[in-house]
């Protein structure tokens, strides 16, 4: 479980971007997290609510966009989405020789902030 440093990273990236743009409050943070990146959404939100107190991001909503990995069969070439749990046999030909790639994305995509004018 490393959601605490992960959450600190999310908060830092979001606050930095907000400050650079002169925003006063962050309403939402859009995250892209691969399905195979070993991150637990609820746990991140839990830490976030604690860490974001008294920052621009207090009360911000975390939106998790989950990206699937891709599995490809070495034998028949069939491709399909790979998530958790990992499938160990090709659904097309039952081969156990698969290759899973992707699904490891791990970044802050964008933030939604209060427009300066409306927040005053």
């Amino acid at each position: 479980m490393h959601e605490l440093p992960v959450t600190k990273g999310i908060l830092a990236a979001a606050v930095e971007a907000a400050e650079q743009n002169g925003a006063r409050r962050i309403i939402a943070i859009d995250l892209v997290i691969g399905n195979l990146a070993s991150i637990v959404d609820d746990s991140v939100q839990f830490y976030f609510d604690m860490l974001s107190k008294n920052t621009l991001a207090e009360g911000a909503k975390l939106n998790f966009k989950r990206e699937s990995g891709t599995a490809r069969c070495w034998d028949c070439g069939h491709q399909f989405d790979a998530g958790i749990p990992l499938i160990r046999e090709c659904p097309a030909c039952n081969s156990a020789r698969l290759h899973v790639s992707g699904g490891r994305e791990f970044y802050v995509e964008s933030i939604e902030v209060d427009d300066e004018n409306s927040s005053s």
Binding site: R88, A96, S110
Partner: protein, 216 residues
């Protein structure tokens, strides 16, 4: 209003990792990040390797451990320079921890550094330390299903060691099943099957490492 960011969540860590990599490169040190579950035999593997290194290679070790200095003491007793990092409860090493350990190592005397990460097959995979080679040490006693259960760590490996090969029959370890799992998440990753206890297979690994370090 939406503001695009597109920034890696662990970019603070990655930045320090890049600084570490620069320091290592400038000092001419090749760095291995050893990741494994607790009890896979990381420390024994380091010693089995350092015992067989050609004279040209001068190793040092950074030991990551939650609470004890047992491993560092073992390594120090063999005359290898070692620095201990205790993470408290932390489940992985990160780049700033390595950064803070560097002043305690005789960098000028070393050209090979083993970083023994905290025993953990999950968290260690996400934190770049600035190493040149990600080594995942699995062991027969853990079972042949580990690449399927912990795909993340096997996916980031540059080389996989399967230790405790002397126990393959005892544990009815299915080498083919293990290899298929590896092929699934990391095709073509080199895999050395060896036993640090008997020494079988260790030479082949050391020769490979020597080639990769490129001092030949």
């Amino acid at each position: 209003m939406k503001i695009p960011v597109v920034k890696n969540i662990l970019s603070a860590n990655d930045q320090v990792a890049t600084e570490n990599r620069t320091t290592f490169d400038q000092s001419g040190i090749f760095v291995l990040n050893l990741m494994a579950s607790p009890g896979a035999g990381k420390t024994t593997f380091i010693l089995a390797t350092t015992d067989r290194l050609p004279e040209k290679l001068h190793p040092g070790v950074v030991e990551g451990d939650l609470a004890s200095s047992i491993d560092a003491d073992t390594i120090s007793a063999r005359g290898v320079p070692v620095v201990q990092i205790n993470t408290g409860g932390g489940c992985h090493l990160d780049a700033p921890m390595i950064r803070s350990a560097l002043p305690h190592l005789p960098l000028a005397e070393l050209n090979l550094l083993f970083i023994e990460n905290v025993g953990n097959l999950v968290c260690t995979a996400n934190f770049d330390l600035g190493a040149d080679l990600a080594v995942v040490v699995a062991s027969v006693a853990e079972g042949h299903d580990k690449p399927y259960k912990y795909p993340g760590i096997f996916a980031v490996a540059d080389v996989v060691i399967l230790n405790k090969a002397d126990l393959i029959e005892v544990f009815e370890f299915d080498v083919e099943f293990f290899r298929r799992g590896l092929e699934m998440v990391n095709p073509n990753v080199p895999c050395f099957i060896l036993s640090c206890k008997t020494g079988d297979g260790v030479e082949a690994w050391v020769e490979w490492l020597f080639d990769v370090v490129g001092l030949g």
